[in-house]
């Protein structure tokens, strides 16, 4: 199979050119060819009129092509300036590092981008969003004329995204050509001049962004009509309290948070990056210790000293970092599915039954439609969507009653997202409670029954999904408005049945 098959693509000076397509469409491969990581087997690249072929990243850098990968390529223990100038540090006449010049140059680059940041600060003291700004500064300090950005907003909050877009606009106005790769189609309208759509290693089309609508983009990406991004609602929330969270405090991170989750309900947790959404999920799961407050399930108070307590009670947490915290990627699919409940496949003296394990895995592969060549496939080789389903299978095997999904569709392509949404609906329909943490507001609006909004560690609003809008959520999330103080008032609230 060819990763790219006779693909054509052109980029103009001073434009922002979006490149979209599902995972495996060939976007990243093309970017790697443009930046010299891979070489094309056939075909040519013309850059400023000349045919070029970059043998490695250094050559493409020299030519003025900068690339910012989805995963940051920075060194956490070095300063901002050191990161920007790594590999080409200015030297004094004695051959020592010229820190002064380096810091001054870095400050100049940063101010050119309107980024307010001390160049001497150590990188790992900064939030991810600021680190990303450093990455951009680094690419620009190479005098890049072409800048490739791969999913630059995946780790950013709304406010930070605006900041990034301002920078992108400024760059475009300075004549930099930008290739912008993103899964978040809704954000393209703010910045994109032209859009190219890839599918299965082919370039499907290139259009002026103004001349194409969102439905058409999605259709071309998936190659079929996708009427609705979200499945029809199947769960019916009950009035039976499944989880009661009361006055949870984690010093400096979570402030006096209370809310309820009802059986059969999907509850959203919205908020900006750093508002404490994941931290709240982790606190309920016992992954981070809390300083105060309590959590009760079915009216019984839970001890939340470690994840194993929560798991025993029937709570599952699906981390936003699937590969780092959700899966043992070097281990097999079947082994990952049974990981949180190995007792269930153990016989006497802790001896494992491989047959039973395979039966269990087979059942979940079938039920959840996990696409894998075999049950003993190493999880690393599965696609993002199938990895996510593997994590879900792991928790279903523990018979979890409450599943906390933290950014469940991050890095998953459109088609697989739909399957995850359906799965969450079905889980709630079966009487489980779902907590969905997401920075994708359309996703929260499309799936949840109610939602709570966090702002800087406090719960600022509890909303009924059917009665709210993206704008309203954002005003709460940004701290512009407060609906409540996160106190016991919550318990009077009833879940509202939403939608048809």
């Amino acid at each position: 199979m060819k990763a790219l098959d006779r693909v054509s693509f052109d980029l103009r000076k001073g434009e922002v050119h979006a490149l979209v397509g599902e995972n495996g469409a060939g976007k990243s491969t093309l970017m790697k060819i443009l930046s010299g990581v891979y070489q094309a087997d056939e075909g040519t690249i013309r850059y400023k009129g000349n045919v070029v072929s970059f043998r490695d990243v250094t050559e493409s850098h020299k030519a003025g092509i900068g690339i910012i990968y989805q995963e940051l390529n920075l060194i956490p223990h070095l300063s901002v300036a050191a990161n920007i100038f790594i590999g080409r540090e200015p030297l004094t006449q004695f051959g020592a590092l010229d820190e002064k010049k380096m810091n001054a140059d870095a400050a100049a680059v940063l101010s050119r981008l309107n980024i307010r940041l001390d160049p001497t600060i150590i990188l790992n003291r900064l939030p991810v969003s600021k680190q990303q700004m450093v990455e951009i500064a680094k690419a620009l300090s190479l005098d890049s004329e072409v800048l490739i950005m791969d999913e630059p907003t995946s780790a950013l909050s709304e406010a930070e995204i605006d900041e990034l877009f301002t920078i992108i606009h400024a760059l475009r106005d300075h004549g930099v050509a930008i290739i912008y790769i993103s899964h978040r189609l809704d954000e393209l309208k703010h910045i994109v001049d032209r859009i190219s759509i890839f599918r299965d290693g082919h370039s499907v089309s290139t259009d002026d962004y103004a001349a194409i609508n969102m439905d058409e983009i999605v259709n071309r990406m998936v190659g079929r009509k996708l009427e609705n991004q979200f499945p029809p609602k199947v769960n019916v929330p009950t009035k039976e309290k499944l989880l009661e969270v009361r006055n949870i405090v984690r010093r400096g991170i979570l402030h006096d948070i209370s809310f309820d989750l009802y059986r059969g309900e999907i509850l959203g947790i919205a908020g900006l990056m750093g508002a404490g959404r994941s931290e709240l999920g982790r606190a309920i799961f016992g992954a981070d210790l809390i300083d105060g407050g309590e959590v009760a399930m079915n009216g019984r108070k839970l001890s939340l000293k470690s994840p194993s307590d929560a798991i025993e009670a029937g709570i599952a947490y699906l981390s936003e970092n699937r590969k780092e915290e959700g899966l043992a990627v070097k281990m097999q699919l079947a082994e990952n599915i049974t990981m949180a409940n190995v007792q269930e496949i153990s016989q006497r003296f802790g001896v494992l039954s491989r047959n039973r394990e395979m039966e269990v895995a087979q059942q979940y592969v079938k039920d959840l439609v996990i696409k894998t060549p075999s049950l003993s496939q190493v999880v690393n080789n599965l696609s993002g969507g199938n990895q996510q389903k593997t994590v879900v299978a792991k928790w279903l095997f523990c018979d979890s009653k409450i599943l906390i999904f933290d950014e469940p569709t991050r890095g998953i392509d459109v088609g697989a997202k739909f399957a995850i949404y359906e799965l969450m609906g079905a889980l709630a329909r079966d009487g489980r409670g779902i907590i969905m943490i997401s920075s994708d507001l359309p996703e929260i609006l499309g799936l949840t029954d109610r939602l709570v909004v966090l702002h800087e560690g406090s719960l600022v609003a509890t909303l009924t999904t059917a009665e709210t809008t993206q704008e309203e959520i954002l005003t709460y999330a940004a701290g512009i408005a407060t609906a409540e103080k996160g106190d016991a008032r919550m318990s009077n609230q009833k879940p509202t049945q939403t939608r048809e």
Partner: protein, 339 residues
């Protein structure tokens, strides 16, 4: 548990998975798995040709006897390495535990009990290693480096650096044999029997039990394991206890073979044991490794040592060759990781 049934979603994007190259990588995976075995067989064939007495029953038995110590230590340290750690203390623990066993035997403790005390000393030191890693949060390298120095120092202190002769009967464990038929076939040495039994037992524990599964899970992804409810500290403690326990077993075997307390013995053995694990495919990054691989790795080292000696190569050349094998094996490990 409740079964969740989901109807297939109108065939959602069937092309998201790449299917190319899977067969090729499967082949390579298996090649990786079998490479150590192939190397060992090739070595045995080569030495059988270059050294006339190499492939004789007597020599093979002596090779197995010599290799048993590093093999047993290697099996123990494999557990520590799979959790993502390391155990540098096992060489010193061999000396300490052997010394302790001899000293308590001299003090009048029954010999069988002195052996158990020796092994428990190893397990206890392993527990201390584990606690330093899990409670004090020390890097395993540092914790076990410290234990390496302390254990050696204690062994030298309690013996005043002298070799004490062990009482009558202490030597049976290391020097006895079974199934002997007189001078033609002296029998299989006890340490070899012990090695085989331990290898099977710990292979079983690592590959077929919950404890083994948790060992891999912790080494493969500690955070994922923790969030799956696995008690990380417990798993690590057990790994270091196993490492210490087997070092203790080697300690009493060696002391028994020499029938004396040898506070200076087994110096540097920990590195051979780690080398055996690595040659056998254990990844120092954790999460990967098998008991079988370590046994083979240990026999590759043992065969090289004996074979090269019998082929006339001197000790220094052996060091060079074994060093190159370790480098080669780790290079291979790196390529595996890169895929």
């Amino acid at each position: 548990m409740t079964q969740l049934t989901i109807k297939p979603v109108k065939e959602v994007s069937p092309k998201t998975e790449k299917t190319s190259g899977r067969f090729g990588s499967a082949l390579l995976n298996n090649f990786e798995k079998f490479l150590p075995y192939v190397v060992l067989i090739v070595l045995i064939i080569v030495f059988s040709i270059t050294a006339t007495n190499f492939f004789t029953l007597r020599n093979i038995l002596s090779l197995m006897l010599q290799t048993s110590t590093v093999t047993l230590m290697g099996i123990g340290v494999t557990f520590a390495i799979i959790t993502g750690g390391i155990d540098l203390s096992i060489g010193s623990l061999v000396a300490l535990t052997g010394t302790v066993a001899v000293m308590v035997a001299i003090a009048g403790v029954p010999i069988w009990l002195s052996w158990i005390i020796g092994m428990l000393t190893g397990a206890f030191c392993g527990l201390l290693n584990g606690l330093m890693v899990t409670r004090l949060k020390l890097p395993p390298f540092i914790a076990t480096l410290g234990m390496m120095l302390v254990a050696r120092g204690v062994a030298l202190t309690i013996t005043n650096a002298a070799a004490y002769p062990a009482p009558e009967g202490f030597g049976n464990l290391g020097n006895g044999t079974i199934f002997g038929t007189g001078p033609k076939f002296p029998g299989i040495p006890y340490p070899v029997i012990i090695m085989v039994a331990v290898a099977f037992l710990f292979h079983f524990i690592l590959s077929k039990t919950r404890a083994g599964r948790y060992t891999y899970a912790v080494g493969s992804n500690e955070e994922a394991a923790r969030l799956s409810g696995i008690k990380i500290s417990q798993v690590k403690n057990i790994a270091y206890i196993i490492s210490g326990l087997l070092a203790g077993l080697v300690g009493i075997i060696l002391a028994s073979r020499m029938v004396t307390s040898q506070p200076n013995s087994a110096s540097g053995y920990e590195l051979n044991a780690i080398a055996a694990a690595v040659i056998g495919g254990t990844s120092l990054m954790g999460g990967v490794g098998t008991v079988g691989g370590t046994v083979i790795g240990s026999f590759i080292i043992g065969t090289l040592t004996v074979g090269l000696t019998m082929s006339g190569a001197n000790y220094y050349v052996q060091q060079i060759v074994i060093g190159l094998v370790v480098i080669g094996a780790v290079t291979f490990d790196q390529f595996r990781g890169r895929k």
